[in-house]
């Protein structure tokens, strides 16, 4: 239902820290029609070229300053993911994605206040790494 919100186009790139490529990241809008505290993110999944990324390698952030593991995010109630503002999803992977074209699939699910099942959005994009 919210597939159109997931994975903002042209947002996927490798991340460099202190001269080393530590992984890759992408941006996504919320899979809901309103903002919610980060603790209400039910799950985030990333698959690159058909291979599922282990959950413990994923970090998420709203401001690119404070990063949370998915487990930590379960108690993060003071940071609100606003409607219309991106969530940064980072995958820790030494060397990041290799140069060339990759298929990256992002899945984001949020808990709502009144629907028993989480609202999921899925989008796979072809990503060009320069």
């Amino acid at each position: 239902m919210f597939d159109n919100n997931v994975f903002i186009a042209d947002s996927c790139k490798n991340v460099e820290e202190n001269g080393n490529v530590i992984g890759y990241e992408m941006k996504t809008n919320i899979t809901y029609y309103r903002g919610i505290p980060l603790s209400m993110v039910e799950y985030v999944k990333v698959a690159a070229d058909g291979e599922e990324v282990p959950a413990e390698d994923i970090r998420i952030s709203l401001d690119q300053e404070d990063w949370f593991t998915l487990k930590e995010a379960e108690t993060v109630t003071t940071y609100k993911w606003e409607y219309g503002e991106p969530l940064y999803v980072r995958v820790l992977k030494e060397g990041g994605l290799s140069k060339g074209t990759h298929k990256v699939k992002l899945t984001v699910a949020t808990r709502t206040a009144y629907i028993p099942v989480p609202l999921e959005g899925i989008k796979e994009r072809e990503v060009e790494i320069a």
Binding site: N4, N5, Y33, R34, G35, M40, Y83, G84, A113, Y114
Partner: protein
Amino acid sequence: MSDIKACVSLYSLQDEYLNKRMSLSDIMHFVKEQGAEGVEILPDQMIKGSPYASDEEIANWNKLVEETSLTPVIADVFLNTNLYKNRTLTKKECIELLTAEIIQAHKMGIHLIRLVSMVPYWVLEPLMPVCEKYDVALAIEVHAAMAFDVQATKEFLDEVKRLDSKYAGIVIDTGIFCRRFPRVVRAYETNNGTSPQVFDYIDTLFEKGTDLHAVLLENHFQYPPELEAACQTEHDKMFVPLCDGYENLPFEVLDEYMPYIYHFHFKLFEMTEEGPEYSMDYKALLQYLHEHDYHGYVSTEYEGNRFTLPGTPMQEKKQVAMQQAYIQKCLKEIYG
């Protein structure tokens, strides 16, 4: 004599906002240009930091209200009872969250809050003193698939009647008055792989004056043989329960609740070129409300946005404009 006024819920323009084609200011001015008197907002959608928005954020809202001279009618509020993964919020936490929402509504010049369906009834009584202090009423939403037959809604409606306070009321979503299943939903979902036979079956129910929600309820959530036959795949079977949010109730279900109804969401799936909405008869409903002396707003709530086919343009502005023109025409016919 009734007093029915036109309003637009900013929910209707969410995709314009999300994708930054329109700012909150653009949207407010657009609503004004459509001739609506009132505006409805989801603070969690367009007021950053809700329900603890900054003074600056609130001042910006109040400036837009003043600039457009729209009446800020109602705030659509949610209660995050599932804020945590491992437990449900306690009663005290729920009251605290809703108190913050009431105070924020007050700061925004709003005197009515729509509580989303399934909010527990027991929040109401402890919040009455807060509502009185800030002059903000709370109204539970009655929405298709979560309407009069659902326990949580029944309990809340009973509580509204028991308290009999001007600070406790009801919001009706007109998705309970669908006379046909929305064809934009059918088109979107068949494109996603649901078999047309499922929708053919649902259409036959509407033709008989009933709906899928009622039929599933009557059958204790077992699929009747005709529905089993309509389902061609496992996906169809899984998907069917998600099609029950469109009810076909007579307007008379409102009779006993009219004194408590403070607001209407005029749900909109598709305004057709000929004028009326594909599934709902707004004109007949407005006539009913007029005859039952309704005082309040009827608010455009466009939901066709989420059923926009891939590759086709978003029609939020066009659909809102068409529905407002139609409703205002109907009101003119009523009031002369």
